[in-house]
């Protein structure tokens, strides 16, 4: 039967009705699946986004601008950008180093390290925030010492930075690891035999072959830092204009029934997400192209 299905042009009376019915049924199934996918997408993804934009612009462009240019809103945005600026490069370097080590070498404890890298994905962000409060907060063993030296971690930028680092740690490493594992080490061996030093090997051979995957990982990491709510919410202390990141600022506005302002700020995150998606799409396209070329 499978042979018939793949060659419907064979004229056989017995299978004629079956052959006619098959494309129709196949198409019907396809349309149903498509309809489900589209309506799901519209309901879960499209409508909420539309509502955010509608609400944001409900009272006109003037109040939208006003809401975004408010002192606290600007403060929240710049804090979010600052945190991203402090977190993304570090996690990029860490992710590169970890993926390189795990992807190109076999050693004892390798699986343990892979599990550790996945830990932030498994732990609820709120719990992650709490861990830092327990570690550096006023009640912690470290608390009095920190207070004595006038070092503020919790309810200050360092706390936000630390919890953001924790939450977004896996993204770059996770993106690179499967690629590096599948690439193997033959090209690095070839380069080393030709006389390349370790650094030359990394810079001229390994890095160019993973640059799109790396970019992809950086984009995801950045998006996660900007959008992180749970962990940051626990450690920030919600001090307006000081320790409020953009997502926290949105929550405060919403709780104060300032819907237009809340949605205006939310639209900024939504736009950032859309830009991220475009970048991600480009990176992914090059990534798959590069992968198919080197194969």
């Amino acid at each position: 039967m499978t042979e018939l299905a793949s060659s419907p042009s064979i004229p056989r009376p017995a299978s004629l009705t079956w052959n006619l019915a098959k494309p129709l049924r196949a198409n019907l199934g396809r349309y149903i699946l498509l309809a489900i996918a589209i309506s799901y997408g519209v309901l879960i993804l499209g409508l909420p986004l539309a509502v955010v934009l509608l609400e944001a612009f409900k009272k006109g462009l003037g109040s939208y601008r006003e809401a975004l240019l408010a002192r606290d809103a600007l403060g929240a945005m710049s804090l979010s950008l600052l945190v991203a600026f402090l977190v993304v490069p570090l996690n990029t370097v860490f992710g590169l180093a970890a993926a390189w080590l795990l992807g190109k070498f076999r050693f004892r404890g390798r699986n343990l390290l892979i599990t550790l890298i996945d830990l932030p994905l498994a732990v609820s962000p709120v719990v992650a925030g709490l861990m830092f409060v327990l570690l550096y907060g006023a009640q912690s063993p470290l608390g009095p010492w920190l207070a004595a030296h006038d070092l503020k971690i919790i309810f200050a930028l360092p706390g936000i930075w630390l919890s953001s680092l924790f939450v977004t740690l896996p993204y770059v490493a996770r993106e690179l690891l499967p690629l590096l594992e599948s690439q193997g080490t033959e090209l690095e061996e070839a380069a080393a035999l030709l006389g390349a030093s370790g650094w030359q090997n990394f810079w001229h051979i390994s890095l160019p072959r993973m640059k799109w995957a790396l970019l992809h990982g950086i984009i995801l990491c950045n998006a996660r830092v900007l959008g992180e709510f749970g962990a940051v919410s626990v450690v920030s202390g919600h001090i307006r204009g000081k320790t409020n990141t953009l997502p926290l600022h949105i929550e405060i506005l919403y709780n104060e029934y300032q819907f237009t302002a809340a949605f205006a700020a939310a639209s900024v995150l939504a736009f950032l997400a859309l830009i991220t998606l475009v970048f991600k799409r480009v990176a992914q396209k090059h990534h798959t192209q590069a992968a198919s070329l080197s194969a």
Partner: protein, 342 residues
């Protein structure tokens, strides 16, 4: 460069891959490491390259202990089975890579690099392909680029790991010839890994036949063919029949080994040993025959290989009886066989 290996041993985990390899390789010679998969030939090549370290034993490059040399200092050219070209670099950039990364240390000027690459592109007949990327090349062209890239750094020895394994027959034969010519012109020492005995016979000055991590025999190709040190060596170079000496009336201990091409076939004579023709398969210049012979242990198969012309003159019908003769044989039971080494 003169290479000397002394008692090289290597294990991966609990499996011992090399069990004491000792050999000398002369400057400018072409050596083949021949053997079935898993015999340790690739591991030995990787140890020579410096990609693996032996557990025991020493390698010397012109009398110098190789373990003291970094990969850069070893200066070996290595050609991989699957080319290992850098996919994001052009043919030119691939070939110049080894010179570029050494440029500062060895004071190679840009002009010198360009001249060298141009020279190599001509050598491998790829003058017009300098700006292509590896994915725009055929398998044969890729392997030529890999060869040029390995030669760019003026290697002291050229190591090739089944370099023709991924190519089709025609390209394989052409590249084989080219490599042989190139090796003689440049006078470079070459060590090739292969499992293909034809390739080994066609290319090598010497063959080093490996079996389960040990050297079974080292010698010139014709030595291994004409004077095999063991039944294993004999079996490796063509189809061999193992016959009982007693049944054939030889007063020798153990079985005797007869190559398929050392058996000749004649029209059936009642006074000679008879066999029934079972199957005929033409193999180009020769014809391969499968004959059934009666023995006290029941019916056995005898393989014979005869020139095509001879078969064309005296064809025999399937199932017919023929008489057969042994022209040459080996018996490895007379003296205990020791793997010879240099």
């Amino acid at each position: 460069m003169k290479l000397h290996l002394h008692q090289i041993e290597k294990s991966f985990g609990s499996s011992s891959v090399l069990k004491g390899i000792t050999a000398s390789i002369d400057q400018g010679s072409f050596i083949t490491l021949l053997g079935a998969s898993g015999c340790g030939k690739t591991t030995l090549l990787r140890i020579l390259a410096g990609l693996e370290t032996p557990d025991r034993g020493t390698i010397s490059f012109d009398g110098q202990d190789a373990s003291q040399l970094s990969l850069q200092e070893r200066r070996v050219g290595f050609v991989f089975q699957h080319y290992a070209l850098f996919p994001h670099l052009t043919v030119f950039e691939n070939i110049v890579f080894g010179l570029k990364v050494r440029a500062t240390r060895e004071q190679i000027s840009r002009a010198a690099m360009n001249t060298r690459v141009k020279e190599l592109l001509e050598l491998v007949h790829l003058q017009n392909f300098a700006d292509r990327y590896p994915h725009q090349l055929s398998g044969g062209q890729k392997q030529r680029v890999a060869l040029a890239r390995a030669l760019a750094i003026h290697p002291r020895v050229l190591l090739l790991d089944e370099p023709f394994g991924a190519l089709d027959t025609e390209v394989r034969h052409k590249l084989r010839e080219e490599l042989k010519t190139l090796q003689k012109t440049l006078g470079i020492t070459c060590i090739l890994v292969t499992h293909d005995q034809d390739e080994a016979l066609a290319l090598s000055d010497r063959i080093l036949l490996l079996r389960e991590g040990r050297i079974e025999q080292i010698g010139k190709p014709e030595d291994l063919y004409l004077n095999p040190a063991s039944s294993f060596v004999m079996n490796y170079f063509g189809r061999t029949n193992e016959l009982s000496a007693e049944e054939l009336g030889f007063s020798l201990p153990g079985p005797i080994l007869v190559r398929a091409e050392d058996i000749s076939i004649d029209p059936a004579l009642s006074s000679a040993a008879l066999a029934r023709l079972h199957r005929v398969s033409p193999r180009g210049s020769t014809v391969h025959l499968e004959l059934a012979i009666e023995s006290p242990q029941g019916e056995r198969t005898l393989h014979a290989e005869i020139p095509r012309e001879r078969w064309a003159k005296h064809p025999v019908e399937l199932g017919a009886l023929v008489s057969w003769r042994i022209n040459a044989y080996k018996n490895f039971h007379e003296s205990s066989v020791e793997p010879s080494s240099l």
